[in-house]
């Protein structure tokens, strides 16, 4: 089966545990204002690749994975190509490689369930804690994320909640508190990661002729990030 990928990064160390290859899938239904990969939105762009070719490529890096590393599939929204992903993850699991899914959690259907059958870890990008903001800033629904989390809970798949902290959008202490509350409702959540919004994707937007909605927004200060991180209970750090 073939899928569309945006790019392949052989060394990833910030998307899941250990040293990982990261596959960026092409195409995303969300339109997050903070998106730093607008070039992954278009479903028609990217490069077509079949699972065997991709598997072969990934296997060349297995010596680097060590005890914790493996493969992370990110995007784009990888679950928009769930059948492809299910086949890839199945093959990776057969090869004994750890699989990690980096998703918004906005899609759930039988194909996605097949993906989850072969998923070791989920990085769930939990963008906002209330439906109004969630829709306003992503054009998707928080309910879907809740539903996805419930599915992960049912399957007991270790999950990291991740949130990009954007000044004036979700950088209040209350916002982080709500995220922690969400975590507490699901025992599958093992870790919470707060990532500072970064502004260096403006060039990408310019190249695509798209207005970058946050072009005047600054990266949150180190102090701010430390303060917010301190609100996260120890067991999620």
């Amino acid at each position: 089966m073939t899928g569309r990928i945006h790019s392949f990064q052989s060394l990833g160390t910030v998307d899941g545990p250990g040293v990982r290859c990261v596959v960026f899938m092409q195409g995303c239904p969300l339109r997050c204002i903070c998106c730093h990969n607008p070039d992954t939105w278009n479903f028609q762009a990217g490069e077509t690749v079949d699972t065997d070719t991709l598997l072969k490529k990934i296997l060349r890096f297995r010596s680097y994975f060590g005890e914790n590393g493996g493969v992370t599939v990110s995007g784009g929204e990888p679950l928009m190509q769930a059948p492809f992903l299910a086949e890839l993850f199945c093959k990776l699991k057969n090869a004994g490689i750890n699989t990690c899914l980096d998703t918004s959690g906005c899609v759930l259907n039988s194909d996605v369930e097949s993906v989850l059958d072969f998923t070791d870890i989920v990085l769930l990008d939990h963008k906002y804690s209330n439906e109004e903001d969630y829709f306003k800033f992503t054009k998707a629904h928080l309910n879907d994320v809740e539903r996805f989390l419930s599915e992960l809970e049912k399957r007991n798949i270790p999950t990291w909640l991740r949130r990009v902290i954007i000044p004036d959008k979700n950088d209040g202490e209350n916002s982080v508190q709500l995220l922690c509350d969400t975590a507490k409702r699901f025992s599958c959540v093992k870790k919470i990661e707060l990532l500072p919004f970064r502004n260096f994707c403006e060039e990408k937007y310019n190249a695509l002729g798209i207005e970058f909605p946050l072009k005047n927004t600054k990266t949150p200060s180190k102090e701010k990030m430390e303060l917010l991180s301190s609100l996260i209970p120890q067991k999620y750090r």
Partner: protein, 742 residues
Amino acid sequence: MKFEQWNGFIEGDWQDGVDVRDFIDKNYTPYTGDGSFLKGATERTKKALNELERLKKLEQERGGVLSVDTSTVSSLCNYKPGYLTDEDIIVGLQTDEPLKRGVNPFGGIRMARSACEAYGYKLSDKIEEYFTYRTTHNDGVFRVYTDEMKAARHCALLTGLPDAYGRGRIIGDYRRVALYGIDYLIKQKENDKKKVGENYMDVENIRLLEELYQQITFLGLLKKMALSYGYDISKPASTAKEAIQWTYFAYLAANKEQNGAAMSFGRTSTFFDVYIERDLKNGILDETGAQELIDDLVLKLRCARHLRTPEYNELFGGDPMWITESIGGMNLNHKTLVTKSSFRILNTLYNLGPAPEPNLTVLWSHALPKEFKKFCAKVSCDTDAIQYENDDLMRTRFGDDYAIACCVSAMKVGKQMQFFGARTNLAKLLLLALNGGVDNMFGTRIGPQMEPMNDGILDYSKVMERFNIYLSWLCKLYVNTMNCIHYMHDKYAYEKTQMALHDTDVSRKMAFGVAGLSVITDSLSAIKYAKVKPICDENGIIVDFETVGDFPKYGNDDDRVDEIAQDMLVRVHNELKKTPAYRGAKHSLSALTITSNVMYGKKTGATPDGRKKGEPFAPGANPMHNREHNGALASLNSVSKLPYSTTSDGISNTFSIIPDALGKTDAERVDNLVSILDGYFLNNAHHINVNVMNRETLLDAYDHPEKYPNLTIRVSGYAVNFCKLSREQQREVIMRTFHTVM
């Protein structure tokens, strides 16, 4: 045989003849714990460090040379004893004052003269006159160089040849002096000499007899030199302090006698550890004292200097000495050779701050203790001062008592020596072949003369056919040139001290090298997979190329192009082997450039891969800058495919990554770096320099050097103080690929 200094050591073969390896094997204590036992610098160490820092600053202010003794020829006993401070624990300097440089004209008087003049000094008339009566290595070589050799040298097809200074890359087994004492070593050499004397007197044996005579003389001088510092080293060392001192004296003597390009220290830390453990057990030393000994040794090593010309610095930037110390590894029984002293020597980078020398080299094995791996990775993240080489790869070829000469070149300590051969420029050779024997930068006609291939789009198989003719021609010329150089070096600048600390029956290799590997690889890939059309000047000489279409590039784990690089190394090695090397040496090959990749690029025209005329090459075996599109591991994979079997003199790779791309926390970064090193070496890669830093740091240091007096970075097989590089070399380092986060 027995010495009272050996009390407490486990007996073995090492007592019946020189066998340091057996001594270590029987007596060392492996350590699998972490670095928490380590101690910081003592007040005395800090004072000594301050003094060295003060002198280094002064040296920098004076244009890179603090002072020169222009009226003494450097040798073992020609200077009065020198000290860094009046509280030195390990004593001995090359001249009578710290950082003062001596002159060593045995390699070539012209080089000594112009080096003095470059820094505003004048070589004394006395030395000038003396050397009118004496043949130098350089005189000898130029008496026999053919016109073709001179032409290849002139147009920089062969560059960095050791024909005007000490060839270096020879590692004396300096430990022998500590373990056995000078008198025993002299006795052994006298026995050897007697035995050789029983043979038929052919050229080989007569030469060896004279060399043994010189070795014995210089062992005597070494003893005398030590005596001038108040130490009698005729007997073995009896304490850790003495073991370090005796060993250092031997190294110092070699450094006074020879101005070799690379003067490695060997593999000493686990050897010293045996003495340190004994002293700790006997209660005459504690951890603070043990660390202080190692710290002071390293301070003395950091004082080492040779006087070089600006042209030399252009090739080997940053005033390097390559005082390479090999650390760790496993032994042949799968037991780790890591000891507490392996940690102690790395700890000097904390106690004394990061610095390029000594060139600390970790021999990495998958089986190294986990805590040691993590400690090394932490040192890399914190200091950017160490390099790694694949012990699992080297141990099968060199046993478990080898050390690294220069940057990446393994040799059995005291049993193997090498004839250093600099390198040839493969990218230039390709251009020469395409132009049918005309160098398009110098206009030199050299090699087989043919029609230039300037008629339309280049055909890969025809280009390869042509290239092979030129490669074959060049390799013969290269070996012959090297033979001349090393015959003359043996004759006029023989390494008496260092060879006295080798077995008399030594094995030799001739270490050839290539530069521009990634440039020729990508260029051939362009010719094969894209359309490359030569562009000529008015005389029909190809001066540029028009390359249309994409082509696979080395550094992306793409076999289509990586195979070209692999094949190239095999091809070069096979061609070299066709011409016998001087003194029965075995031909070996390296992909290592030091900083000469900048100079090589400067002297090479535009290439089919899109590199412009004069642009720097990538260093060593590195992919060309910023042509890696699949991330860091893909780049590492490409390099790891290069065959160590044909390139056993070393395959150098310099890897720079920004801290954020290695992990979010310090602990993650350490673990991830360990995984990367494990993976890289499991793939049979040979060497890696690791820099964990942001490009912005280098940019800031480029503009404000005063803010970064000790900024150390790994370049190509060695570490260098960034601020000591030329502006050009600095720019090239900044241009290199820094692996980042997407």
